[in-house]
């Protein structure tokens, strides 16, 4: 494999999925957001969003806190430090790949 392709091979596959990349791009810009806000911004279905959040949580990229606001359930999502680092590294990898594959 040539060096340019190697750059892309090392990309974080967990983040390299459009829905999860969008979720992380939202969480990277805010302190925290709840499930409704993320669903509204990503246009994902409840099931899809839930699955992607669970995967990100399992990887330690997102911290999910289930709480209540009065009697209404509230699922609060926050990007962890590991999540921020992984997302920054992913962006850098993509940038490197684009720069190294210029025509």
């Amino acid at each position: 494999m040539n060096p340019e392709r190697n750059l892309f091979a090392g990309v974080d596959r967990l983040i390299h999925e459009p829905s999860r990349a969008i979720i992380l791009s939202i969480l990277a810009t805010v302190e925290s957001a709840d499930f409704i806000y993320l669903q509204r911004e990503t246009h994902l279905t409840r099931g899809n969003l839930s699955v992607h959040l669970s995967k990100l949580e399992a990887a330690g990229y997102v911290h999910i806190e289930k709480t209540y606001r009065g009697k209404v359930p509230l699922t609060l999502c926050q990007m962890t430090l590991a999540g921020h680092q992984a997302f920054d590294a992913y962006r850098q990898q993509l940038k490197n790949f684009v720069e190294n594959t210029k025509e």
């Binding site: 459009p18 990349a21 969008i22 791009s25 939202i26 990277a28 810009t29 805010v30 302190e31 925290s32 957001a33 709840d34 499930f35 409704i36 806000y37 993320l38 669903q39 509204r40 911004e41 990503t42 246009h43 409840r46 969003l49 839930s50 959040l53 669970s54 289930k66 606001r69 009697k71 209404v72 359930p73 509230l74 699922t75 609060l76």
Partner: protein
């Protein structure tokens, strides 16, 4: 969908103003100030007027706290159940926050001191207060307009500035002018808030109450 971070950040910032609650609470505070200046203008020698004058330095910070509480209460009951909750990032470095706060405090002191000195030398300039206040308020709303990229804040800024200019040109005096200025500003803000809230509620019906759970 393109995960454009600057646009995502902008959308999160715009979300702060999505429901018009900011204008409602700010407009409400303006109406309170209009009442304050009306009492000052209509019964300047009364006990109520004296008490209000003495407590004016408390009114501004108390108003800021009140704005914050009212916005939070409004959002908890109207916005978050419909379109979700988002907490905004704050500057993490304590020193940078301290410098920024110190700079703002210093700037306020310089402007306040200059205005006070100007008025002391020439009390007639007190009549320009609606113009000056309109200029400051207009500046604040213009800044919000630029930060949020929401056109309605430019309209609000323009209307508030025109109000201040018009009332000063009419020469109706300091206290009555300020009273009318705050009343007009409050009405402009309440109208904008009502229109924004109406649009928001129309496009975002209430959720079933259990949606916020994956």
């Amino acid at each position: 969908m393109q995960p454009d971070l600057s646009k995502t950040r902008l959308r999160a910032f715009q979300y702060l103003y999505i429901d018009g609650t900011f204008e409602f609470t700010f407009g409400g505070l303006c109406l309170l100030l209009a009442g304050f200046f009306y009492i000052q203008a209509s019964m300047p020698e009364s006990l109520l007027s004296t008490i209000l004058t003495m407590s004016f330095v408390i009114i501004t910070p108390a108003g800021a706290v009140l704005i914050n509480r009212l916005v939070n209460r409004f959002k908890e009951n109207i916005t978050y159940p419909r379109t979700g909750y988002v907490a905004f990032q704050r500057p993490k470095e304590g020193l940078r926050r301290g410098i920024r706060a110190g700079f703002m405090l210093g700037l306020t002191a310089i402007i306040g001191g200059t205005v006070a000195a100007f008025i002391t030398r020439n009390p007639q300039t007190l009549d320009w207060m609606p113009l000056l206040t309109g200029f400051v308020f207009g500046g604040v709303f213009t800044w919000i307009g630029f930060r949020s990229a929401l056109a309605r804040f430019f309209v609000i800024a323009l209307l508030i500035w025109i109000s201040g200019f018009f009332l000063t040109m009419r020469g109706i005096g300091n206290m009555p002018g300020l009273s009318l200025f705050y009343a007009l500003s409050g009405l402009i803000l309440l109208l904008s808030g009502a229109l924004t809230l109406w649009q928001y509620l129309r496009h975002n019906p209430p959720s079933d109450g259990v949606i916020n759970e994956p």
